[in-house]
Amino acid sequence: MGEEKRVLTGTHFMNGDVACAEGAIAAGCKFFAGYPITPATEIAERMARRLVEVDGIYVQMEDELASMAAIIGASWAGAKSMTATSGPGFSLMQENIGLAVMTETPCVVVDIMRGAPSTGQPTEGAQQDVMQSKWGSHGDYETIALAPASVQEMFDLTIECFNMSETYRVPTFLLADGFTAHLWERVIIPPPEEIKTVERKKPTVPPDEYMPFKPDDDLVPPMASFGEGYHMHVTGLTHDERGYPKTVDPKTQHELVQRLCEKIRKNAGKIIRTHEFVLEDAEVAVIAYGIPSRASLSAVKGARESGIKAGLLRLVTVWPFPEKQVEELANRVKAIVVPEMNYGQIVREVERAAKETPVHFLAKLGGEPHKPSEIFEVIRRAAEA
Amino acid sequence: MTEKKALESRESEEIRIGVYVCHCGLNIAGSVDCEEVAKFAETLPHVVLAKDNRYTCSDQGQELIKNDIKEHELNRVVVASCSPRLHEPTFRKACEEAGLNKYLFEMANIREQCSWVHLYDRKAATEKAKDLVKMAVAKAALLEPAEEIEVPVIRKALVIGGGVAGIQAALDLADTGYKVYLVEKEPSIGGRMAQIDKTFPTMDCSICILAPKMSDVGHHPNIELLTNSEVVDVKGYIGNFHVKVLKKPRYVTDDCTACGECVEVCPVIAPNEFDVGLAIRHAIYTPFAQAVPSAYIIDMDLCLNKEKIIVCDKCLKACERQAIKFEMKPETMELEVGTVIVATGADVFDPSSLPKYRYGKYPNVITSLEFERLINAGGPSGGHLIRPSDMQIPKRVAFIQCVGSRSEKSGRLYCSNVCCMNTIKDSLLIKEHWHETEIHVFYIDIRAYGKGFEDLYIRARKEGVKFIRGLPAEIIEDRKTCNLWLIGENTLQKELYKVNVDMAILSIGLEPRKDSKIIQRLLTLSRTQDGFFMEAHPKLRPVDAATGGIFFAGCAEGPKDIKDSVTQASAAAARAGILMAKGKVTVEAITPIFDLEKCKACGLCVKVCPYNAITLNEELKRIEIIEAACVGCGTCAAECPFDALTQNHFTDKQIFAQIDAVTEHDAEKKIVAFCCNWCAYAGADFAGVGRMQYPPNVRIIRTMCSGRVSPKFIERAFARGAAMVLVAGCYPGDCHYINANEHTQKRVERFWKKMEQNGLNEERLQLLWVSAAEGERFASKIREMQGIVEKVAPEEIETAKRVFEKALGGV
């Protein structure tokens, strides 16, 4: 068994959490460690049922600290590993997300965002962890975060997360809102051969020559697994290329932190995904991600019908932030509209990139998605100004 | 119970005493006019008849008593003859058969304590005999019938010592069906016999005949073998001993298969005791090939891990069965047994204390024990008799006899019993292997008294072994060759000899175990002058200890060869078996009598009782006596300030009566002696047996323990005008009632103070510690006191009378 059960090729009607789980398994995930939390629990439930069918391991840990630690361990043991949680659990994971960054451990963390702060609105969707996914752990680092806007994307982008995580040896986030996660939609799962999966880069030198943290030109070091005879030492301390602690040497610290950030920044071009809709001649551009981008689309259509030249830029990759695209767009539009299900997070990045171009922000809190009419209103005002 | 009824019916009647004076052939009659004594007896109060006859202990003598009891309705009987320690049981039995309670019988010891010690003064002896009879009659008049209490005998035995004697005793008892605990302090049983090569006179291989017995012990379902263990505490009494045994850890469990892998890796070594230091052993070892139990043992004093922490784990690693457990701890086992057999064996004499033989200086001077290991095929030299200096086979050897026996110098006057035959055996062994060897045996006497011994002796002479009478005066070594010059006098040919030999073998004697004192104290045993344990009676109870329920086997009681040890062991087993078969013993009715009226519940008696047989009942404000636990020392009675306690058969009244009888005439010339039954009285008897003469003016009053002697007895004696008083008991530590005689000492010391305060000469009260074997010590004490008696002035007597007046009040 295993392979033939990995990809459930065909057309399905399923919810976002389930699609995410299927995406993970299709991507070759063999290890899931988690802790129940609304609205991400269904992912764990699906994994518990499915992983066993593909010779994978599901383990429910005592908390999110442990879950995050466990998937790091599993990853070093050679398994593609993942955990899924929501805001409160995501906070607990930040400690070991930092460890994953420092030790360059490929792993995927799914964060199904809900109303916050604190326990907030367990059953209501939101987009309030966007900044936490960038700055949640201490120190300077870069990670990758993708924001699905449909159940199909819950499937597709989870696979993307694994591929990027394996490519760049970095913890990668699927940053989905509670609505998308609980949405029921049609999902088309292609045949295995049509699904692109990436395996981490392995060392090509014998153990005694191997430096676990010596990068190639792409700034990403090849990664051996425990048990392959490389006798690696892995530490959360600042370390040299051999992996040994070097905690009081400024040069080592500088070079390490620099590389950890640069390996993402330098490869941003390959990482960033966006979708454009009638932007060619647009005067007002809506920039959205996740569930608000769906209301934005009908709002833009409405605007066009009423003669307003509006267009939509949907961010699939939230981190690293698509600065170039936004800046270039800002140069050719009169105004930018940013609807978010929070009190203003990604909009700050947009404003930073947009320079003088006015940015209109539309916050939505409380667990109700934006109505197209609400967004249309803002577009209209922006066009008139 | 018919007897009891009979005696009750007589209670009311007036007291009718019959007195029987025994001639004991000429033993008594030789120096005592028995007829006169009998006539005198008739004049005493309550005496209805007095007779003298040749042997009162004979059947006719006993019949006579029985008939008189019936015919003349005697209700008290006094026999004046030998020591009650010898025949009291005989006559008590006779009385009982005639329906008279045995506690209504009394004895006057006119043999050991009169005729035999005053052989040459018939008049004085006769007078003393009269006094002794008078004392006995006086006490008899006050005797009370008593019922003895029965105590159950636990049907389990303890055998102390796992030499051939202990092994035999244990096997016999176990085969009879009794549970036996065999306690051996060495790691293996086997004892000396296991070290010896061949046995005389049959010359069979010692270990070959011993090993099967050893493994029988190991496998016997009725025997619990406790090796590497020591008896540390014994409480209780005949039939009911509570024993504590300290089981020292072996550090190796029974899982040990004796494969020996551990020994291979053990890095530390020491001389092997079993081979008398001629071979080495490791810290983990087995004493010898045939050891039982076969499990190895670790010598913790030698082991590198003695500091509790494992620094060396070589044996641990080598042991496949993981039988080594360094965390083993000593454990104390508590055993309940009915009988005890003491088979603790003997040590061998250390000749280095005799400088003339240079043992320990000249390598080629060896002991007979070392010889046994050298000639033994399993020994360090593989049975090749070699001499230590150059490992060469000696051409000329000498045996020197009586090393540590029969000599003032060694302080051991006795004959060790086995050395002569052992040497003869050894000389033949040498001849057997190396016939041309020249052998000289230097001796005092050759004692070949046993069965088959003489033949062996003759054989040795035929084989050309030279026997020379006269021990070497010294041995001189030739520095170069390490050969030895033996110089001495041939006392037969009255000429000096100077013999050159390659090796000299010292035929070392046997001596009491260095640690005999411990067993002696634990079991309250006595020892003879040579230090071996003393039997209850040399003729009639040769394997019994004086303490009930305890028996001897093997060299613990005196030097013996293997045959005698085994014989005595079987005898001891039989004696113990009798007790256990019966399942019960009667305890003498000499327990305290308690007067509730007088008791103030002060608890003094509770404090002094060595057996915790008295307890203080707080609520009822009175004491309670546990009769079964009481062994009748009487210390409590002596301690009670309110006369609330007295002792059955040794009541204050009875003892007063004896004192009064002694002091009726010529008190100012007399010594009133209070002697404990076990040491002092036995010592006095021993003086008699040894015909040791001493002045006839001493009158002995027997108590079970000197602890019974109450100050008021002494006061009474002085108040009655006695010249002197002697209180005699066992040595401190030898007391048969654990520590009762410590109170004797305290009381006497207090009394001396009292005398001093009242201006009396303390010398008139003497305290004597004496063992049952020290007849001479007793005799000389009396002689010494006689000297004092003569110096006591009439005024002093009078003062004393006045001072102690009060003591005269009847009780």
Binding site: D55, V59, E62, L65, A74, W76, H233, T235 | I310
Partner: protein
């Protein structure tokens, strides 16, 4: 001859990252002894270090992972057991040992410890118990004895300490032992036994911290502390861990628990086969 060249002759050299010595630990620190006994155990058992992973947490002993020549992970504070769980489950062929301190395993990491023990995940956990947080300068921790002085208990500790062996046994560990740093041979044997046994095994090692804890509590030099161990330690195999509290007068050491119980991995494997059969069956 350089130190490294001499060191290379040490019978245990092949298990150590020689270039990283001398280690960071103070004179007389028990952590060095634990490391020594641990690699001795590996050597005695002839363990294939290619399939062996050491995971450690934060604290003095946390550095141990960096000295042993095998795959090793020096994790975040308190998390070694959780991380080790991931490694073991993802690759059951690996043998896992977690070596960490009392604070790491039982304060910040206490939750992970009890749950891993409960799950009976197959790993050997060795705790160097030095009664305080040494690395941060000697603060009190979950095992600090009552009344002891530390930088954060300047007036004496008022918190009751954990009895670690009792805790481990109660949480379900299949093997529980305690030794002091002086019981090197026994400790080595215990480690060997644990490494060969399946399930969650726990060994507590009472370890001298002369420079920090020892100094503040006037315990003398490391040698004095070791002598003290010799004096007051009592070996009691099979002793009830509940009664094995550590006091000034007495340290009960020995093997307290040694039982058999299916491990998480074994149960998981069983389940696999069952389900696979079902799935194959259609």
């Amino acid at each position: 001859m350089t130190v490294i060249q001499e060191f290379a002759k040490h019978p245990l050299a092949k298990y150590l990252r020689l270039e990283r010595f001398p280690h960071i630990w103070c004179e007389g620190c028990g952590d060095g002894i634990i490391l020594n006994c641990f690699v001795k155990a590996l050597d005695d058992l002839g363990i294939n270090v290619d399939k062996f992973v050491v995971v450690s947490g934060i604290g003095c002993i946390g550095r141990v992972a960096g000295y042993i020549k095998c795959d090793s992970f020096h994790t975040t504070h308190g998390r070694p057991i959780a991380l080790a769980t991931g490694i073991k489950l993802a690759n059951p062929k690996l043998t896992i040992a977690v070596i960490s301190g009392d604070g790491d395993l039982f304060a910040i990491g206490g939750n992970h410890f009890i749950h891993a023990a409960r799950r009976n995940v197959d790993m050997t956990v060795i705790c160097s118990n030095n009664f305080n947080y040494g690395m941060t300068g000697g603060q009190f921790g979950p095992t600090t004895p009552l009344d002891s002085y530390t930088t954060t208990t300047p007036y004496g500790n008022i918190e009751h300490p954990f009895n670690l062996v009792h805790l481990a046994a109660a949480a379900g560990a299949v093997y529980v032992a305690r030794w002091t740093a002086l019981h090197v041979k026994r400790l080595t044997e215990s480690i060997k036994k644990a490494l060969q046994k399946k399930g969650f095994k726990f060994i507590e090692v009472i370890s001298p911290c002369p420079e920090i804890y020892g100094r503040r509590n006037k315990l003398g030099k490391s040698i004095d502390i070791m002598k003290q161990y010799r004096q007051i330690s009592q070996i009691r195999h099979g002793y009830d861990p509940a009664k094995a509290e550590i006091t000034k007068e007495k340290i009960i050491v020995g093997e307290f628990i040694d039982i058999e119980k299916p491990t998480y991995g074994e149960l998981l494997q069983k389940q696999f086969l069952k389900i696979q059969k079902k799935v194959m069956g259609g």
